[in-house]
Symmetry: C2
Subunit: 233 residues, 2 copies
């Protein structure tokens, strides 16, 4: 009983798969239009075993042919469907600073089906400004505007101290998911999904990899390990 109480394995594990699916999708886009792709190509590009690739893709249906590989176009369609990005997602951004401006200009979003349809900021000087074709509105209008804009996702690019308040406002306005860039742990109602992008964590991952590669660097933090052994069996 204790174990059942104490573990929430499935969401995290599904997300790990989803993350790999996203990366496979990038590889497909990156291979420059080759009609087929092998599990080995995908494995090398993403840095997992090809057995892992085959397991992930087998769950999407019978897409691969032994000795031929996967049909790249069909695989792209299947991955996009599995990830839920075979349609457009409308999102609002709250907090119109440099990060929001960078996100607005980030071509990858629209290419992957994410459309920013509204901008909100609590700064009275910013309200009314036009940014990349959108007019900044006050945060107090979220409750009324999110449904009107048919926005399902909220992007949170406010300072840490404002993040929880804005997250509450987004939840009250009915968004289904929040993409949070503030380096804080947010509390959201259970029906609202949360992905926190902690940019410092990305830096830490890089530092970790550099440190591991250094001659005479510290021992890896987990020299022995039972569960996450190489997965190709």
């Amino acid at each position: 009983v204790r174990q059942r109480l104490s573990s929430e394995p499935n969401p995290a594990l599904s997300r790990a798969t989803a993350q790999r699916l996203s990366q496979y999708l990038r590889c497909l886009t990156g291979t420059g239009g080759s009609p087929t792709v092998s599990s080995l190509q995908l494995a090398r590009a993403v840095g997992v075993s090809d057995a892992q690739v085959r397991r992930d893709l087998a769950a999407l249906g019978h897409l691969g042919q032994r000795g031929v590989g996967y049909d790249a176009a069909a695989l792209g369609v299947a991955i996009r469907r599995a990830l839920g990005i075979d349609r457009t997602w409308r999102a609002v951004i709250v907090g119109v600073g440099n990060l929001a401006r960078a996100l607005l200009r980030y071509r990858g979003f629209r290419e992957q089906g994410f459309e920013i349809v509204g901008l909100f900021d609590n700064d009275p000087q910013k309200a009314g400004q036009a940014v990349e074709g959108l007019t900044v509105e006050p945060v107090s209008r979220l409750v009324e505007r999110v449904p009107a804009l048919r926005a399902e996702l909220g992007v949170l690019t406010v300072p840490s101290e404002a993040a929880q308040g804005v997250a509450d406002a987004l939840a009250a306005a009915g968004v289904k998911g929040v993409l949070n860039f503030a380096p804080v742990l947010l509390r959201l109602p259970p029906q609202v999904r949360l992905v926190t992008v902690d940019l410092a964590i990305q830096f830490e991952q890089l530092a970790f990899m550099v440190r591991m590669a250094e001659p005479g660097g510290p021992a890896p933090p987990r020299p022995r390990e039972g569960v996450e052994k190489p997965r190709e069996g």
Copy 2:
């Protein structure tokens, strides 16, 4: 032999652990100074099983006491040492746009030991500009300036089409790691570590989680699975 050729499991797995360690560290900072923390608290905050937390932390040394939990301060020190962030890392940013400005103002970096010590851009209009106390220099000066600045990491915030060229320049200048924000697959010499932050992937993860939570949503992409079963056994 084929399996050995076709799999690169260890780097990816070590990174998965490092990612969890980073997240535990955030929780420690977020718990507001409580002297102890339990594996269950960390597990709930991060969304993994507490058995996973105990395995990850056991590899750092004997930090936990049954029934008492982990000493939060000691755990923070151990995690920072394991991640290689028990010291300062000096980094340069190449590509001084909105994203670079957002990163420069991101307090989390300095708090976690990352210091931006140089800014570079190929736009002649930007060279010489002062941004957040640093002067923008031309990319051609990287080779000479990276060693002078004692920078070990490079942050790449240029448009996709310029990314590989700048990555080559950073590698030639002697950085040990590149944090890439351009949505492209970069090729780097083997001694240079690479972490690519694909912001659209974060959006995709959120869309995936929202879709999975929808009543009548699609079946999960991997309804059956052998290897990544819930790990608490």
